[in-house]
Every structure is written in structure tokens, then in C-alpha cells.
């Protein structure tokens, strides 16, 4: 991929200018707040990039995104337009309002040095991981937060199909340059992102790339 890659810019939300517009480099963390009523868009700038994401109630981080509550409430493992992202207390935190990718994973979790030793080889421990991104971003935000606050996350743009006989695989992505997912916040949330640095499986097409984060003010 050329360093001078010209990132396709998504259309702004109607005539309005976002209150936040930032490109997050491959393998980097991002942490920030999205207030109730605001709109968050995550853009897969170059395609097939896994964006590991967690949400917390901004006023009480004991309430966090819950993959199993989200799956159970909608009766489906894939996240897409119309999905309510639910907390460990059952509340709807955000809704997916637009999705040009098609579906997103919430079973695959985040990579870590430790899980890399299990999944690939003991010698992979040194490789940069989503867990490292999460822990560093949380530590910089609030020293009381840590690994206890890392439940199962969302992997936007990642393709992890499950078959009827119960097998689970990491497959080539179904995303493409410029595809995005857009979410409306139903409570004030803290957003924690690791723009996944995994090099050992096809979740990033073996080539982690930048993403764009846009936030628009409430209606």
C-alpha cells in the first residue's frame, strides 16, 4: 500500500460538519466520548480492517458493552443496521443506523500477547496487540480502569462466520475501501478502539490500515 494513499472521504452527514474528524493509524488506539444523540461513524478507509471496539457508560464504567446481551436480545450473532448494542445491564447503549459493510463480528474478541502465544506460536508474544492498545488507552484515561474492564468486544468490519454444526472461523473480510458503520448514541458513552495490529490471520487482510472516526453533534 502506498504511503500517499488518497483516503476516500465519506460524504458528510447532510450539510453538517462533524465535531470530530480524525484518522487513526494502523495499529493505534483511540479513546473518546460520544454523547447521547450524537452520531459516530467509523470508516474502513482502505478495506478489510478490523476495528476492535468497546463502549462504556461514560458516567459509570462498570456498565460496559456486552456481546452476549447484544446477541441474545436480537437473536442473531451478527451486528448490522438495526442492531442495538447492549450493556451488561441490558440497556441499549448505541444503535447501528447505517452499515455499508453488511455485518460485523462480536464473537472473535481482541488479540493479545497471551492469546497470540496460544493461537500461533510462543514466539509471537512480542507482537503488538489490541489488548496492549486497550490497556494503554484506559490507563491514560483513568488509572482505575484496567483489564477487568475488557469484556468481549465488537470487531467492526471483521468476518467470523459460524456454521450450523458450530464451527467458527476467521475468514477474509467482506469490507472494502470507504465502507463505514454509523451509530447513534442512546447514552453518553466512552468509546475505546484498537485499530487492530494483528498480522497473523486474515482479519486485516495481513495488512493493517488506517480508519477514520467522525462524530456529529446531536440532531
Amino acid at each position: 500500500m502506498s504511503a500517499s494513499f488518497d483516503h476516500p472521504r465519506p460524504a458528510v452527514l447532510g450539510p453538517r460538519v462533524p465535531v470530530h474528524d480524525e484518522v487513526v493509524p494502523a495499529g493505534a488506539p483511540w479513546i473518546g466520548s460520544v454523547l447521547r444523540g450524537q452520531v459516530l461513524r467509523i470508516v474502513d478507509l482502505e478495506g478489510n480492517q478490523a476495528v476492535d471496539t468497546l463502549f462504556y457508560n461514560a458516567h459509570d464504567t462498570d456498565e460496559h458493552y456486552s456481546a452476549v446481551d447484544t446477541i441474545r436480545a436480537q437473536g442473531n450473532i451478527y451486528l448490522t443496521t438495526g442492531t442495538y448494542l447492549r450493556s451488561n445491564l441490558g440497556a441499549s447503549m448505541l444503535t447501528i443506523t447505517e452499515d455499508t459493510c453488511g455485518r460485523h463480528d462480536t464473537l472473535g474478541g481482541a488479540c493479545s500477547a497471551e492469546s497470540n502465544t496460544v493461537r500461533y506460536a510462543l514466539g509471537k508474544r512480542h507482537m503488538h496487540s489490541c489488548r496492549d492498545n486497550f490497556l494503554l488507552a484506559l490507563a491514560g484515561y483513568d488509572h482505575r480502569l484496567g483489564k477487568r474492564d475488557l469484556p468481549s468486544n465488537i470487531n467492526f468490519f471483521m468476518n467470523v462466520p459460524v456454521t450450523g454444526d458450530g464451527s467458527l472461523r476467521f475468514e477474509d473480510g467482506i469490507s472494502a475501501p470507504g465502507r463505514y458503520v454509523q451509530l447513534g448514541a442512546q447514552m453518553d458513552v466512552l468509546v475505546l478502539i484498537s485499530n487492530c495490529p494483528q498480522l497473523n490471520n486474515p482479519c486485516n487482510a495481513y495488512n493493517p490500515t488506517p480508519i477514520q472516526i467522525l462524530i456529529w453533534a446531536a440532531g
Binding site: 472473535g108 497471551e114 492469546s115 502465544t117 510462543l122 467458527l168
Partner: protein
């Protein structure tokens, strides 16, 4: 609420079974927690058909290390649990191995029931009228037990639902199997780390039963020793061999 079977006549008839360390019978809807040391095995037996046992697991020596649904599933390329699989922590180590299983499928992607859904489906009950038959729910049951160890809402993570089978179709939709668990089905866990185990016998949140009917479940623990070299869980895949290696670093022989 169904009558509670007499556990004395339901104990495994396996004459070669090692003597139990302890046995307990969980009443329908009961929540429970305990410490299972490395080298201990636990058999959970459904004393009635269609039981569900929600379970959370934490490293008792460092409670911030806990069961990780995603790491468990992706290391073993599976969306469910049965014998031969192991339950991974979020530190690349194995909390417990599933060494025997008579029903073939245990769910770990559907979570817990909660007070709102139980009240909506089955109506509100209070202790004042129902006494101990009030309808418990999975989330509150877990919070009851977690609080005894300094844990709480923050520590509510993806759990296992033993004895429950939920399949996923091509479109990703969930389907609950009402036939997965028959009376006397069992699953055996061999603990590879000192583990805080938290259980709730509340019904699976997707069980479409018209009546709220949690089941009676028996626990039986014994000293089994830790995983031998020629162990089906260790040998299932290279990932598990490395998981055991990571775990055994903490427990020199």
C-alpha cells in the same frame, strides 16, 4: 416448581468412580460459588431434563484473570463447548478442561437471563408471596455470588451455559434446542488452575418454555490430578498444547 428428586438415588452408578471430595445438590434456581483447586474435577449432573447451569470462572489467585469466551472459541475454532475442549482465561491459560460430556453441546454465546426478561415472560414474583419459589434470574444470581469476592457488575462477562444448545443458522440467527439435555446428563470439568467457579441454575435466557422451571443439578467433586501428557484436551490441537504449557508455567511439578 417441580418436586426435587432425591439426589441419593441419582448419584453416578460408576463403580470405578473415585470417592468424592464433596457432593452438593443445587435446588432449582439456586446460585452457588466455590473454589476448585488445580487437580480437582467436578461433575455437574442434570437431575432433570432441560437443565441449564450458567457458569463464570475466575483465577482464584488473581481474580482479574477470568474466562474469556472469545479466546476459548477462536483458539479451538468452535462456537460451542463439549468434551475435548478447554476453557481459556484472558491470559492464554486454561482454567478447566472438559473431560467428559454426555450431552454434546454447551452454549457460551447467549449470556444470562435478567430480572426484566424473567418478569416480562413469567410475571413478577416477590419473596413475600412466593417465599423461596420467587423467580430468580441469572444476572442477579451471579451478582449475588460475585459480591462475596469483591467482584460486581464490572466483572459480568460472557458466561457458559452448561447443558444448553443454541445453534446459529446461515443468517446468524439463534435456535434453542429444547431436547439437548435429558435427565442424568452430565459434564465433567478438570480444573487446571485454582478457580473461583460461580454457578446459577436459572433457565437459559432463550429457553422458550411457557412455565418458569429451573432444574435441580448435582455437583460432585473429586481429586483427579492434573492433565497427563496423553490427554485428549491437551492433544486436541496445537493451540491447546501451548495453552497447557502456559498454564503449567505457574505450577512447577
Amino acid at each position: 416448581m417441580g418436586s426435587v428428586p432425591d439426589p441419593k438415588v441419582r448419584v453416578s452408578g460408576d463403580a470405578a468412580a473415585p470417592p468424592p471430595l464433596w457432593e452438593e445438590t443445587l435446588q432449582p434456581g439456586e446460585h452457588w460459588s466455590g473454589i476448585l483447586r488445580r487437580g480437582t474435577s467436578l461433575r455437574l449432573t442434570a437431575l432433570e431434563a432441560r437443565a441449564n447451569v450458567a457458569a463464570l470462572l475466575y483465577n482464584y489467585e488473581c481474580l482479574c484473570e477470568r474466562y474469556n469466551m472469545a479466546d476459548t472459541l477462536k483458539a479451538q475454532h468452535t462456537a460451542y463447548l463439549t468434551s475435548g475442549y478447554v476453557c481459556y482465561s484472558d491470559m492464554g491459560r486454561i482454567l478447566c478442561s472438559i473431560t467428559a460430556d454426555s450431552c454434546g453441546w454447551h452454549d457460551t454465546i447467549c449470556g444470562l437471563s435478567d430480572a426484566t426478561t424473567v418478569a416480562t415472560r413469567y410475571g413478577t414474583t416477590r419473596f413475600q408471596e412466593a417465599r423461596n419459589d420467587y423467580r430468580k434470574n441469572g444476572r442477579d444470581s451471579m451478582l449475588n455470588e460475585l459480591g462475596k469476592y469483591g467482584l460486581g457488575r464490572r466483572d459480568l462477562i460472557a458466561n457458559i451455559n452448561f447443558f444448553s444448545r443454541v445453534t446459529v443458522d446461515e443468517a446468524g440467527a439463534l435456535h434453542f434446542d429444547t431436547e439437548n439435555c435429558v435427565a442424568h446428563d452430565y459434564v465433567e470439568l478438570r480444573f487446571e488452575m485454582h478457580t473461583l467457579l460461580v454457578l446459577s441454575t436459572c433457565p437459559h435466557p432463550l429457553d422458550p418454555a411457557i412455565e418458569y422451571q429451573p432444574r435441580c443439578v448435582q455437583l460432585r467433586a473429586w481429586i483427579s490430578g492434573s492433565a497427563p501428557q496423553q490427554d485428549p484436551c491437551r492433544q486436541r490441537c496445537d493451540e491447546n498444547a501451548r495453552g497447557f504449557r502456559n498454564t503449567e508455567m505457574m505450577f512447577p511439578p
